[in-house]
Amino acid sequence: MNSFTLADCTTVDAALAQLKDGAVVKAGGVDLLDRMKNGTDTPARLVNIRNIPSLRGIQVTPQGLTIGPLTTLTEVSEHPTVRSQYAVLSDACGHAATPHIRNMATLGGNLLQRLQCWYFRSADFECLRKGKEICFAFSGLNQYHAIMDYGGCPSVAPSSGAVALLALDGTLELSSAAKGKRLVPIREFYVQPDANPQRYNVMAPEELLTAIHIPKPAAGTRSAYQKYGEKESNDWAIADAGIVLEMDGNLCRRAVVTMGAASPVVRRSKEAEAALTGKTITPEVARAAGQASMQGAMPLSMNAYKVQLFPVAISRTVLLAAGQMGRDPGAAS
């Protein structure tokens, strides 16, 4: 690891004042310290925001939820209102990584972690994302890589929190010392690799994520998230699905289907949503939605199994959200 200086801040204004000259924000430090130990990131200055009390906690408002980005994944997943009305978020935060990581990792850090690709995460490979013109995954080992919408970089979106927030139509509040606050919907937050391979999201280096807003779900909304890995716990998703259903009895008025480990940016499947909208949810309808989600899939040399896995993940999570099936024993614990 390189040597660096650390600025310990206890207020948002103090932290914003420090965000200049290549300084990097550290919250829980889970993803950032991994990258520094791997040698892929070598910041000269870290700004520790972990001790800013105003950025932590969950507010229930008439409009929905406002979550401080320093709220830990454990705190989000165990919050009674999140559990009862935003199950997709509670499930997503409660099944990431391991219990001890969830106690340290913040929701903001979960949303802002870098992509998963073992070439990108190794200092030995200078790839497209690091300013070169080559991707090692297409001709190399790509069993955990993307199957859709990958352009020149088939890395996968790692954030389970983003899968849930996209399903719930969340909005991120970004703050900077010079320009104040701006709101960015999560659907516009992440940058597709072909738009700019060296950007992961639209945040500027001098900006800080200061709040996560989630609108209150419509009456009759049910939701769920499930993650599938090779291991039952402590593993990255090979497929995961976030489902939000606005139900009228068993009739689905509106559906949102989101997927994480399929592409470099968390995505909604309009095809799967169309297969659910206006239908009575049955196992057959759920299965059709799962199949529809794979329209346009272009698996790489080693990950065609994901094209079979995602429809199962989506159909079983639709049935879980609709209350027609329990949590899948095959999904991550």
């Binding site: 073992w118 030995d124 490979f125 080992l141 079979q308 896995l309």
Partner: protein
């Protein structure tokens, strides 16, 4: 011989056997020869969730091949047999043989997608 130590040796062997049967893989990039999962994040080993209840039945036998009459047990009873036991259980459940480790979801799906093998062929 302390039976608890013997049981503990076998349990440890079974856990490592499950781990290499289902998870462990040293991924080497075919074009550069570098290991791409050189950490315990991507080099997967069995954790607490992946370990089932292990029941050990001891049968005493006299081997007599060392000056103390002691012999190794963890590798023989645990590590070596776990892969065979899981592979046979999979064959018993599905009629399909897997001859590749680790038996990841990708490997299992590929095996299930193969045309059914006949009993005589295995």
């Amino acid at each position: 011989m302390n039976p608890n130590q013997v049981i503990s040796q076998i349990c440890g062997g079974v856990i490592q056997g499950i781990s290499y049967t289902l998870f462990e893989h040293r991924h080497l990039d075919p074009n550069h020869g570098l290991m791409v999962n050189p950490d315990l994040d991507r080099y997967k080993i069995a954790g607490a969730y992946e370990v089932p209840e292990i029941e050990v039945q001891l049968t005493e036998s006299y081997i007599g091949q060392s000056s103390t009459d002691a012999s190794g047990i963890g590798e023989a009873a645990g590590i070596i047999s776990a892969g065979a036991a899981i592979g046979n259980a999979f064959y018993n459940a599905t009629g399909v043989r897997i001859r590749q480790l680790p038996m990841t979801p990708a490997v299992v799906l590929a095996a299930l997608n193969q045309p059914q093998q006949s009993m005589e062929a295995v």
